[in-house]
């Protein structure tokens, strides 16, 4: 594995790392692919693909309840990933790390298992104007069912949370805070540790949506004092079909599971059923074994490169891109210019982002155009959508140059 042969950060061969990603070596519409849609889903290195093939060709089996060799081997690899996730998050224990179908399920698990059990009419749940729909809709469902009050912390014009307003929103009535760590629409890195302190000052637990933080930042859930933390494997060079759901032991233990089925129980009779201990209580049915094992390989891969190195690389590519983009008159950046990840949300004059996306696609440049599942944020900025280029460590300056070139096509065609 090229990543493992690295010795010091200075010697990182980013070209070799890029070659780990076979998908990048292709043409789209006759142009080299410049994949800049990493915030939506990242790509998978050969090492992870190989691990999937190894699993399916040598030791796939259902886990946990098998006495035979394959089942034991699959169980070990599955549980090894739990341990890798614990290290990745710096959680206290493996048992605090649960595998869900995606980040979305993790948030819903908290809404159902904590919200429906412990929150009641009039209790306030504080979220922000910057949330992804997955951190809005579950709380609206809870509002409809329980009559909780949903309080929304405003966002500034340049796409930051208004911390003073956050402090004001949190009162004795606040019983839960759910906040995005890094904005998927703008890249904003929120001061989540301070926000956690505000929540804890009034005794409210906090859920952090770390989908966009996990691929870029080094995480420490203990230091952040997260009660819950969610992330998506498919944004971390692993597979779709699995998410990370972290919870403090004491929180998970007092919560109810919301999915009933096999493996999440200790014993079942028609009269009474005893739930299993954590993490199993929250993993009903056959889990996404293969995606989990792929996630293990991805975490090893990212760790071998070094997460500091990844962040530095992405920051450098971002700086390179911004320098060029700022020279284009019609280019308009949304969101902050610093304390952000390598996400560039932009418009070109009054060209609709959907048209920008199509023109970029024709040039082989893959970006996302739309509301990025953040309609309230878009509304706050007074726009229907943005074009979003999001950079990963395996991108290079050619990708950025292709982006800039294609944006020039846009201005030319639309006279913007």
């Amino acid at each position: 594995m090229s990543a493992q042969s690295l010795e010091t950060p200075a010697k990182i061969d980013w070209d070799a790392i890029r070659r780990d990603f076979p998908i990048l070596d292709q043409e789209v519409h006759g142009k080299p692919l410049a994949y800049l849609d990493n915030a939506a889903s990242s790509q998978m290195p050969q090492q992870v693909i190989d691990r999937i093939v190894e699993y399916q060709t040598t030791f796939h089996s259902n886990i946990h309840r098998g006495v035979h060799a394959l089942s034991q081997k699959a169980t070990d690899a599955f549980e090894e990933t739990r341990s890798l996730v614990r290290q990745f998050l710096n959680a206290r224990e493996d048992a605090e790390c649960i595998f869900t179908r995606g980040a979305t399920e993790g948030i819903n698990a908290v809404m159902h298992g904590y919200g429906r059990k412990f929150l009641k009419a009039g209790d306030e749940v504080v979220i922000t104007h910057m949330e992804h729909h997955s951190n809005i809709v579950p709380w609206q469902m809870l509002r409809d069912e329980k009559g909780i009050v949903l309080k929304v912390v405003p966002m500034t014009d340049d796409g930051r949370l208004d911390l003073e307003a956050f402090q004001e929103a949190i009162t004795d009535k606040t019983k839960f805070v759910s906040c995005i760590h890094v904005s998927n629409a703008l890249g904003t890195i929120n001061p989540i540790k301070e926000i956690a302190a505000m929540a804890h000052a009034v005794g409210a637990p906090i859920l952090m949506d770390g989908c966009q933080a996990a691929p870029h930042l080094t995480l420490d859930v203990q230091d952040l004092d997260a009660d819950f933390y969610v992330a998506s494997a498919h944004k971390m060079c692993a597979s779709t079909g699995v998410g990370i759901f972290y919870g403090k032991r004491e929180m998970l233990e007092k919560m109810d599971p919301f999915l009933g089925g096999g493996d999440m129980i200790l014993s079942v009779s028609f009269d009474e059923t005893v739930y299993n201990v954590i993490p199993h209580k929250f993993e009903a049915g056959t889990p996404p074994i293969m995606p989990v094992i792929a996630l293990g390989a991805a975490i090893k891969y990212l760790t071998a490169i070094g997460r500091d190195n990844i962040a530095r690389r992405e920051d450098e590519l971002l700086a390179y891109a911004m320098e060029k983009l700022d020279t284009i008159d019609a280019f308009k950046l949304y969101g902050p210019r610093d304390t952000k990840t390598s996400v560039i949300s932009f418009g070109i004059g009054d060209v609709h982002p959907h048209d920008i996306g199509t023109i970029l696609d024709t040039a082989g440049v893959a970006v996302r155009a739309g509301h990025h599942c953040t309609q309230p944020l878009m509304k706050r900025l007074g726009i229907p959508a943005t074009a979003r280029a999001s950079i990963a460590f395996y991108n290079n300056t050619d990708d950025i140059d292709a982006l800039v070139g294609a944006i020039n096509d846009v201005t030319e065609i639309f006279g913007a």
Binding site: P353, H354, I359, T362, A385
Partner: protein, 156 residues
């Protein structure tokens, strides 16, 4: 860029910049709302139909160049036509997007053929079709429509 020029032809860019029949009608006999949740294209169509003839038709809303030009050119096309003819255009436009339009239809569609290039971009077909989809809803008295989940019907 050649492909793009085929997609974003001058007439489309021009209608995008200066949409015809744009804005709501105060009084109308038919109306419908069309929405594409994938990209946020969001239009209302207003019609005054008298004696089975489309006396007035306007559109209002926001969206990409393709959808806006499609809406604009659609209104100029069907204004003054019979409802039956409007429905024929709907069918023909839809067939064009499915790459299934015969020569007669091509002839009949006239300058609407500038949208033929869109049929080559599956993820933009919904943009061009949305105004027509909404027109159809207005004629048939459905008050809202969405392109989502009806991919089969409209993508051909």
């Amino acid at each position: 860029m050649t492909d793009l020029r085929n997609l974003y032809q001058e007439v489309i860019l021009e209608h995008n910049k200066k949409p015809r029949n744009f804005g709501p009608l105060e009084e109308f006999t038919h109306e419908a709302h069309g929405y594409n949740p994938l990209c946020g294209d969001d239009y209302h169509i207003y019609m005054v139909v008298e004696d089975d003839v489309v006396k007035k038709v306007t559109f209002d809303g926001t969206g990409c160049a393709i959808s806006k030009a499609a809406a604009s050119m659609m209104t100029t096309k069907i204004k003054g036509k019979s409802v039956e003819e409007a429905e024929q255009y709907i069918a023909e436009f839809r067939a064009m997007m499915a790459d299934e339009l015969d020569d007669d239809g091509q002839e009949h569609l006239g300058h609407l053929k500038v949208f033929a290039g869109v049929a080559q971009l599956p993820n933009r077909i919904k943009c061009a079709v949305l105004p027509w989809h909404t027109l159809n809803a207005a004629i048939h008295g459905n008050d809202g429509t969405s392109t989502e989940g009806e991919a089969d019907e409209w993508d051909g």
